[in-house]
Symmetry: C2
Subunit: 219 residues, 2 copies
């Protein structure tokens, strides 16, 4: 670290389970890829984030390996997602969690990219802060993402309500949807319908408080 | 356009000069690359920005071509930079212009990437808004940029004052520098000192007003 200001994420996971080391490392990497690495507060990645896991074997169970490790992997995924969501909801000045679900992308990597870009968009984050069901901003992110897409196949949902079908905007009760967006978690779902790539990303809204925290803290 | 919300930039340049068409197109592309394309307000690229130039030849001058077009090119560059800076300074809720100068990068493309990332960083933008000479946030962007660098060679300047030399922070009068940052334009200069890549990017500070404009405008 070169300056005590930097946001730094240090995550320590521990378990009493007896787990084969190679499997544990791979399971952690997979879990982190779909949780911490899909998290964005303000796009300013810290240069020194870290997630570690330690297993001391005290539970004296049969060794968990790739062969019998399905439940362990699922539990680890769940813990990592819970922690990632908690970080997003706890973002500086955040008032709600944004969950972006993307499916039907051409590839997993394209789905991940699109989900993260939407969750990181300042305009999308500000719209969520203002309970504004502004699907135009979501679609604009798709447009600049570089992801493969067919406009005529695009479905978009806000807080579970479909606002675009096959690329055409649907009529919806804006006031009602805006009221439903005043929840702790706001969900944005984009179905590209051209492939099998799926990803979920998490972020938080952009508030005046975020600016205040990050501009005035020294004064 | 799919929604009237989208920020959209339409720039029309006109001149009476008689200019050879191919040269004019190339000169515009080069000028736009170093001006409009180095501009960032909030990272949310519109999907339908445009810059066009028209030359009607009324000045009845000798045809301007690549061979004699140096002055025309410089004038065009100047106009484009002036317009780009005006857009940044006029950003939603912006109270000042940020000019990021990067030199000594390994390549021009790396210099461009670093300059744009610094100008786009929410944390850097918020720090500028709070007149906070927070070089740590600038250096953190370098760290995540993926650009080639040698920490021991890094020089950083804020508003003309050197705050880091050869990778080591320098002592400076924080209150005084903070006061000097209350100018219309805040300059950030990063010298990587490992190559010849140079770039300038422009952005604006991130204010509470930006959030208000982009979250509350529908209510």
């Amino acid at each position: 670290m070169i300056h005590p200001d930097l946001a730094t994420l240090l995550s320590f996971l521990t378990t009493d389970a007896k787990v084969e080391a190679g499997f544990l490392a791979r399971a952690l990497k997979a879990a982190v890829d779909d949780s911490f690495n899909m998290l964005t507060i303000d796009g300013d990645t810290s240069t020194n984030d870290m997630v570690s896991i330690m297993a001391n074997g005290r539970a004296d169970n049969d060794m968990i390996t790739a062969r019998n490790g399905r439940m362990f992997r699922e539990a680890l995924n769940r813990v990592c997602r819970y922690l990632a969501c908690s970080i997003a909801a706890d973002g500086e000045g955040a008032t709600r969690l944004i969950e972006v679900y993307v499916d039907g992308a051409k590839s997993r990597s394209q789905a991940r990219k699109v989900a993260r870009l939407i969750a990181a968009s300042a305009l999308v984050k500000a719209a969520v802060h203002g309970n504004d069901p502004n699907w135009g901003r979501v679609v604009a992110v798709l447009g600049r993402s570089g992801a493969d897409m067919d406009e005529g196949k695009l479905d978009v949902y806000l807080q579970g309500e479909q606002v675009m079908r096959s690329g055409s905007p649907l009529a919806f009760d804006k006031d009602k949807l805006s009221r439903r967006m005043k929840a702790d978690t706001v969900s944005i779902k984009v179905c590209l319908n051209i492939g099998t790539g799926i990803a979920i990303a998490w972020g938080c809204d952009l508030s005046q408080e975020y600016v205040t925290i990050n501009s005035d803290y020294t004064t």
